[in-house]
């Protein structure tokens, strides 16, 4: 059932961050993902590019959404997918990340998808295993497939990425989604703004290739894309912002604030949303929201990434 389509080579063994990708790499992955969208919309959604391959999802942080997206992507490509239930495994008994990695590596998987609370965890794993590693989020560092699915969603809505004004709003400090998006959008020539209370911005933000705003009414002026970030519950009550109601009042996206953006601006959120905290329900479910589309693009992008990495693996083996 495959439709062989020739894409230029993807010269990476792992996907650890957007930082290591060139604009060409990003274009390539987005183009491949477009093809995957078509597959996912057919009645028969299964192809066999990854038949016989083993994919292990190793999620140290619970994430129903990202984990099922990776699982579905692998299954649609024909791979055998295994979810490591970290919460009930040896990890809880004190086994280190490296020891777990070595154990899994001995089972000879082809792809390891890892989500971990520590920045750099995916890179550490990649040094120790023989297969491809995909970073599904490492601490506050990177979440490359999220940035790619966001880019694909934007490209489909706006036809391009270059010269668009993209406003990233909320907890940039703790957000790997924000970092990956800032890198990707800058690489593709978009104009990036961040809008957040100053307690939720990292040091040196001015030098990260973004324009900084603390007032959402100013930051959203003329924006083509409004990207909301999730605010973790434990950060709401006094630690970084005084309260939910104050946060929503000044930084939550509602109809009045959205009016400042371009009329055809799209609204995005990586999920899961806190309705009434960073985003009003009317906006989340409104006509400008592309949040559901993001979820669909997530599966497509992950299919594209896994196919591209596996082709590289095969290429390397053939060349060796």
């Amino acid at each position: 059932m495959t439709e062989p389509q020739a894409f230029p080579p993807f010269r990476h063994r792992h996907l650890l961050g957007i930082g290591s990708l060139s604009p060409q790499d990003i274009e390539l992955l987005l183009d491949r993902a477009e093809a995957a969208v078509a597959i996912s919309r057919r009645p028969d959604k299964k192809i066999s590019t990854l038949r016989g391959r083993t994919q292990i999802n190793l999620f140290y942080e619970a994430s129903t959404r990202t984990q099922s997206s990776f699982e579905l992507a692998g299954k649609r490509l024909g791979a055998d997918v295994m979810n490591m239930a970290v919460a009930s495994s040896a990890v809880k008994k004190g086994e280190t990340l490296i020891d777990t990695a070595m154990t899994l590596n001995a089972m000879r998987p082809d792809i390891l998808v890892i989500r971990h609370s520590a920045a750099g965890a995916a890179a550490l794993l990649a040094q120790k295993v023989g297969c491809s590693v995909i970073n599904a989020g490492d601490g506050a560092h990177e979440h490359p497939t999220q940035a790619l699915l966001d880019a694909l969603t934007i490209r489909r809505a706006k036809g391009k990425l270059a010269r668009l004004v993209v406003a990233i709003c909320g907890d940039v400090l703790h957000s790997r989604v924000a970092r990956s998006n800032i890198i990707l959008l800058n690489a593709m020539g978009a104009q990036v703004r961040v809008i957040a209370p100053s307690t939720l911005l990292p040091a040196g933000i001015e030098r990260m290739g973004v324009e900084r705003f603390t007032r959402i009414e100013e930051g959203l002026k003329g924006a083509d894309v409004v990207m909301m970030l999730r605010l973790q519950r434990e950060r709401m009550a006094g630690a970084f912002v005084p309260s939910i109601r104050e946060y929503f009042r000044f930084h939550g996206l509602d109809a009045a604030k959205l009016k400042v953006a371009k009329e055809d601006a799209i609204v995005m959120h990586p999920g899961p949303m806190n309705r009434g905290v960073e985003i009003a329900s009317a906006i989340a479910d409104g006509p400008q929201s592309v949040i559901q589309e993001q979820v669909e693009m997530g599966v497509a992008v992950r299919m594209a990434v896994m196919e591209a990495l596996l082709e590289t693996q095969i290429g390397t083996e053939a060349g060796a």
Partner: protein, 429 residues
């Protein structure tokens, strides 16, 4: 009666501001003479004479900040293994930190360290004792009894005392016995989850940062209390320009304060963390290049008195982890001199001042019979080829732990021979 004669070497002795070609005569473990005056004298029969032309002799280094794993973590480092590493690095005296398991907060434990050192160590081992019982930051230990047992300083090791009141009383009480309070000043709240220098680089890595103010705020508090109490205070490891400036101000006010810097903060900067390299996770963290340069300047001017290795052995179990979960610290005894000599070779700090900061100054501050080649001094000295090139290799490391920041680094300047009380404890021959 044994006599060793080391002829025609360049002799560096900061205790006498001496840098000249001369001869060192060691008799029965003590320096008999060291300098140009000892050249071309006749030597008594039976003396071992060695021609040291082209080589340099300096007092053995005194490392005022060394963590060992004994007691409690002998798999990382024992007093014996640390002393072998020290001897190879030209370090003849070490001050050991009290944050072991158990904590060195009791006379019996000071005695334990000294006994173990006497039985197993190649170099002089001087324990520092805890300021507070169990390092809990609450109740003072028995300063005078600990001092009587052989503790040369009082410190909390890696910990910082949060309470200004406890610090005030410690400084006040220590003054009665002329004991030095040595303190690492990192505000535990402000540094909180931080794992590296706060700034753009940390932000891109997604790692929580430690602002320079985390060091400064506690330091300023301590310096104010040193002024108030007249106590002897040593800031053990500073890392920033603003900290060095604060120490300078306190010194100008006449407070009895001194300060140290880790060799890592003189030789490396935050960029060395690279892609989450855990061996470069240190306390204080490696700072920006401007701060590194400022620390070199402060060392040169004397605002910073002492260079330490901050030797902190960590094993695979504490280092082969994600960066934020790894323990801070790096070993440093074997590379202390060579790394410091970089500052000499690139013209940043004069050799005499470097050796003073590595040997004479710490010996003076902690009251040790070391750091000098004056006639009558204990013959703790090292023979160095200042220009010999070598590469740091994991396999050559004598320390039980291999967490060096200098793996693969090209060094210039090698210790050829180390004498402790006249006895050769290390030699490349």
């Amino acid at each position: 009666m044994s006599i060793v004669v080391l002829e025609k070497a360049r002799i560096i002795d900061p205790s006498r501001m001496l840098d000249e070609i001369g001869t060192v005569i060691v008799e029965d473990g003590r320096v008999k003479e060291a300098g140009a005056g000892a050249l071309n004298q006749g030597f008594p029969e039976g003396a071992t004479v060695k021609d040291c032309s082209g080589l340099t002799i300096m007092p053995g280094l005194v490392d005022a900040h060394v963590h060992v794993g004994e007691p409690g973590a002998e798999h990382r480092e024992t007093i014996a293994s640390a002393s072998r590493a020290a001897a190879a690095g030209g370090v003849t005296s070490i001050v050991t930190m009290p944050d072991t398991d158990p904590v060195i907060d009791d006379v019996a434990l000071v005695e334990f360290v000294l006994r173990s050192a006497r039985d197993t160590a190649l170099v002089n081992v001087h324990p520092a004792a805890a300021i507070t019982k169990g390092l809990k930051g609450l109740e003072m230990t028995e300063f005078a009894l600990l001092q009587g047992a052989g503790a040369v300083a009082l410190t909390e090791g890696r910990r910082t005392i949060a309470s200004a009141l406890v610090m005030r009383r410690a400084l006040t009480y220590a003054r009665d016995f002329s004991a030095v309070i040595s303190h690492e000043t990192q505000d535990p709240d402000l540094a909180s989850y931080g794992v590296m220098n706060e700034g753009l680089f940390a932000s891109w890595l997604g790692l929580p940062g430690i602002p320079r103010e985390a060091e400064l705020i506690t330091l300023e508090r301590d310096l104010s209390l040193a002024r108030l109490t007249g106590g002897a205070y040593h800031a053990s490891k500073l890392s920033t320009a603003i900290s060095a400036a604060a120490v300078s101000r306190a010194k100008a006010d006449g407070a009895d304060v001194t300060a140290g810097v880790s060799i890592n903060n003189l030789a490396l900067n935050e960029m060395d963390v690279g892609e989450y390299r855990t061996f470069f996770r240190l306390t204080p963290p490696l700072r920006a290049e401007e701060d590194r340069a400022a620390m070199v300047e402060a060392l040169k001017s004397g605002a910073i008195d002492i260079i330490v290795s901050s030797h902190d052995p960590q094993d695979v179990d504490t280092k082969r982890l994600p960066f934020s979960e790894a323990a801070p610290g790096a070993i440093g005894l074997e590379t202390l001199l060579a790394a410091a000599l970089r500052l000499h070779h690139n013209g940043e700090v004069p050799l005499l001042r470097l050796v003073e900061a590595l040997s004479t100054a710490p010996a003076r501050r902690f009251g040790l019979d070391a750091g000098t080649l004056k006639p009558g001094a204990s013959a703790d000295l090292i023979l160095v080829d200042l220009d010999a090139p070598w590469v740091v290799k994991e396999d050559d490391i004598l320390s039980r732990s291999k967490n060096t920041c200098f793996e693969g680094a090209l060094m210039q300047g090698k210790v050829l021979q180390t004498l402790v009380a006249g006895r050769t404890v290390f030699s490349t021959e």
